[in-house]
Amino acid sequence: MHTNQWEVVIGLEIHTQLATKSKIFSGASTEYGAEPNTQACAVDLGFPGVLPVLNKEAVHKAVIFGMAIEAQIAPYSVFARKNYFYPDLPKGYQISQMDLPIVGVGHLDIEVDGETKRIGITRAHLEEDAGKSLHENFHGLSGIDLNRAGTPLLEIVSEPDMRSAKEAVAYMRKLHELVRYLEICDGNMQEGSFRCDANVSVRPKGQQAFGIRAEIKNINSFKFVEKAINHEIERQIELIESGGSVVQETRLYDSVKDETRSMRSKEEANDYRYFPDPDLLPVEIDEAFKAQVKAALPELPEAKKQRFKTYYQLDNESASMLTSSRALADYFEAVVKTSACEAKLCANWITGDLSAALNKADLDISESPVKATQLADLLVRISDNTISGKIAKKVFDTLWQQPNSSADDIIDAEGLKQITDTGAIEAIIDKIIAANLGQVEQYLSGKDKVFGFFVGQVMKEMQGKANPAEVNKMLLAKLKN
């Protein structure tokens, strides 16, 4: 493969929509999905004479993010105007940040193929979103919906630290997980709450200087990011190897055709004429505010994962999975706490049966019909030998169907209680041995495997309700005699 001679360099710019109630510079609602232009006030429409007023909650959320990636928070940051004409940009400029962004240099650690890698974050800045241009169903004209205009965005710019599409996706996922953890962004990619632009270039392995990069705009799913980047890598390598050269340009990923195509070249790029917005004062953030935000910061995914590993003695995989969202981790801890069962048992059930059921029903953990206390009750019954693990799966399935019942109700109603009465078990064992003398002989002649056959027969006879440990013990004793 020719790709072996090339090194890929990727940097991502991720636009996260901050989950504030109102817009970044006006009091209009940020609710998604309203009738076009019903959530745009005079400020969002850029009417003559209106002025922006900064939403403090957007600043707060940006600082939370900065703290979480251990970045420098600018004591003094400035809003600037990015000037360009477009019908869905009502003022003819976007209020953004240029020279002095609110969040400075930070980092995020990702894990790819078991290896941890630190990805640098150059900066994160606050800005307003534009509206939407709608080109269909307007008979040759374009429609404009300004509901989204003025929605607060935090643009997070990474260093060109990623070396494969896989790393880029890992970084994007990690960031996605983090902003949801911090509850600063709802992470809804379908609604555009989390969007990605990728800067991609290639260079011969060992070369220091970066190759010419292309920027792929507005990719809105993890799957597309990987595909779009891989396509772009291939395009660039083929181009160079066939004697051409990459030009600096903005490209658009077409998910239907699965290709990127040129939007505009560097020469066609706008001169945005950035300058400090005279309508807004610089944002000043003092140590006290930072301390306050830091104190209120939730436990971050990485720290939580480490804690799960050491405190609950979980393996890396379970710990990663359980800490992939704050709600899932909370669910796990609630189950452990309520049930007082072994953490590993709880983890196995949550990452196993529960996750499988949720995936199948396409539900989030927060929507699970089986609540943490219900699962805890079920696990208690496994631990105290009321039911076996196998029966527990059956109880769980019923519980999933009947979320208003409890594990105990189901065990009682269906008579699933495990039999620990040794007399009853002994009678069955005797019966099975008597009926299978041939197998007994095989066992006694050294074929240990046959032991499993006897266990299976006993359990079958007892409809799975016998305590397996007890069955083993007694069967062993009987066969030896």
Binding site: G46, F47, P48, G49, F275
Partner: protein, 489 residues
């Protein structure tokens, strides 16, 4: 009636000597009679009479302010709910504002009766009112002379008695210069003292609304209603608003007045220098001490201003694109055509000139040399004022280098027009308050008409009360502010 002060009129309303409806009708009739002055772009007769009726009821119920029932007018840069707000431009000739500017809201709240919207240079860009889409407003002292700009209509309306007082806005002298040319009192407050919300932006870091009146006493009353922090304007300052009328008539004994040599040298007409000399002597008689000072950066103010103001306006005026409101060209073939023709046809020459200058100053490769350099000089100018105001209480200077010039005299040469603002522009760059008061009537040559001369008093940040007192004291011992032009007495 039209030469009475706000207090006299408020007394008349309270003692039922006349009603607000009668007073309003009186002014509406005068506006009608003096239409040729072209002071108003829109006269809101019905709204005015309705508001007057409400004001009369309020006065009767006893909870009126001094402004309740007083007929005033708004510069057409302030958005007025349901009323055309043109900003002197073809671009907004069809624009009915969907909300009230904070200043409008506050004056309405005080009970003032709005007679209509006043003429101005397009988007407040100009020093002669000749850049108005609606034609120039005429100086009542000499209708062949300009009234000054950009608040030309406001100055004409107040000088000719077509409103008791008016609002103006001042980005580089737009309140003070027309006030001087028309012989009235005009105050540009400290940047941030009066809300800019709803005041159509020209250069956001310089724009400031203020009162244009016939006396300092009236200006104090009007500023009282206009000033104050506004949460809708992040650049408005949360600083207590004092009682501006209370301090009037305080003694000026020991007041230190600084006279910058840079403002009294070359370029100043002899007749103005002479008039100001007499005015300053008057202050000495009131006990003030005169100190000559030097402010070397003042000469840099004009180029600095034209870079910063143009840069900001090039961005501020981008919203006028023919998409959502305002002028739209006929049958655009595509987006670029819609933009270029709507803006090309909707904006006047001076507006386009400044947009081009500002776009250039902000362009890649020029930003550092123009915009950034200008910001640095702006800082130096501020420091110069800070330094001067640590030595003296106030600074006095001319407002204009010459008497009101003739219509068409300077339209061919934009630089000559820009030089008109020599004495006013630096104050905006520093964000300081300054007041222009009538300080004489003087002809600039044999046979020419005597015209009003303005004196500028510049104070420290939020020193409006001090400036008003200094102006008021002068108006107690002189009567220049009481003179009305021939035919308008």
């Amino acid at each position: 009636m039209h030469n009475k002060t706000i207090k006299e009129l408020a007394d008349g309303l309270r003692s039922s000597e006349f009603s607000s409806v009668e007073l309003t009708q009186y002014f509406l009739t005068r506006i009608q009679q003096h239409q040729h002055l072209n002071a108003y772009i829109t006269v809101t007769e019905d709204l005015a009479l309705q508001a007057a009726q409400v004001a009369d009821e309020r006065i009767a119920s006893g909870n009126a302010t001094l402004l309740t029932g007083i007929p005033i007018a708004q510069k057409d840069i302030f958005c007025t709910l349901g009323v055309k707000t043109s900003c002197g431009s073809k671009m907004l000739d069809n624009f009915i504002a969907p909300y009230n500017a904070t200043v409008v809201e506050k004056l309405n709240h005080a009970g003032a009766v709005m007679l209509g919207k006043l003429n101005m240079d397009e988007f407040a860009m100009g020093s002669s009112n000749e850049n108005s889409y609606y034609g120039v407003a005429k100086n009542p002292w000499n209708t062949t002379a300009v009234p000054g700009g950009s608040s030309g209509g406001s100055a004409v309306a107040v000088a000719a008695g077509l409103a008791v007082c008016a609002t103006g806005t001042d980005t580089g002298g737009s309140i003070r210069q027309p006030a001087a040319f028309c012989g009235i009192t005009g105050l540009k407050p400290t940047y941030g003292r009066v809300s800019r919300y709803g005041m159509i932006a020209y250069a956001s870091s310089l724009d400031q609304g203020g009162p244009m009146t016939r006396s300092a006493e009236d200006a104090a009353i009007m500023l009282q209603a206009m000033a104050g922090f506004d949460e809708k304007d992040s650049t408005s300052v949360d600083h207590p608003v004092p009682d501006y009328s209370q301090g009037l008539n305080s003694s000026l004994v020991g007041l230190k007045i600084g006279l910058p040599t840079e403002f009294f040298g070359e370029g100043l007409s002899r007749n103005i220098a002479t008039a100001l000399d007499i005015a300053i002597k008057e202050y000495q008689c009131l006990g003030a001490e005169i100190i000559n000072i030097s402010m070397p950066t003042l000469t840099l103010a004009i180029p600095t201003y034209y870079v910063i103001a143009s840069a900001e306006c090039s961005s501020n005026l981008s919203r006028f694109d023919g998409v959502r409101f305002g002028y739209r060209c006929e049958n655009p073939v595509d987006l670029a055509d819609l933009y270029t023709r709507s803006r090309g046809e909707g904006f006047g020459r001076e507006v386009k000139r400044r947009i081009l200058m500002g776009t250039y100053a902000l362009s890649a490769g020029y930003y550092d040399a123009y915009y950034l350099k200008a910001q640095k000089i702006r800082r130096l100018i501020s420091d110069d004022f800070k330094n001067a105001l640590s030595q003296v209480d106030v600074i006095m200077s001319p407002v204009t280098p010459t008497n009101a010039f003739g219509l068409g005299e300077k339209t061919a040469d934009p630089v000559q027009m820009y030089l008109e603002d020599l004495y006013t522009i630096a104050i905006n760059l520093a964000g300081l308050p300054a007041i222009s008061i009538p300080a004489g009537l003087s002809a600039d040559g044999e046979g020419s008409t005597p015209m009003p001369v303005g004196l500028q008093i510049i104070g420290n940040y939020f020193a409006e009360a001090k400036l008003l007192n200094i102006a008021h004291c002068y108006q107690q011992v002189t009567d220049w502010h009481r003179h009305m032009p021939n035919g308008f007495e």
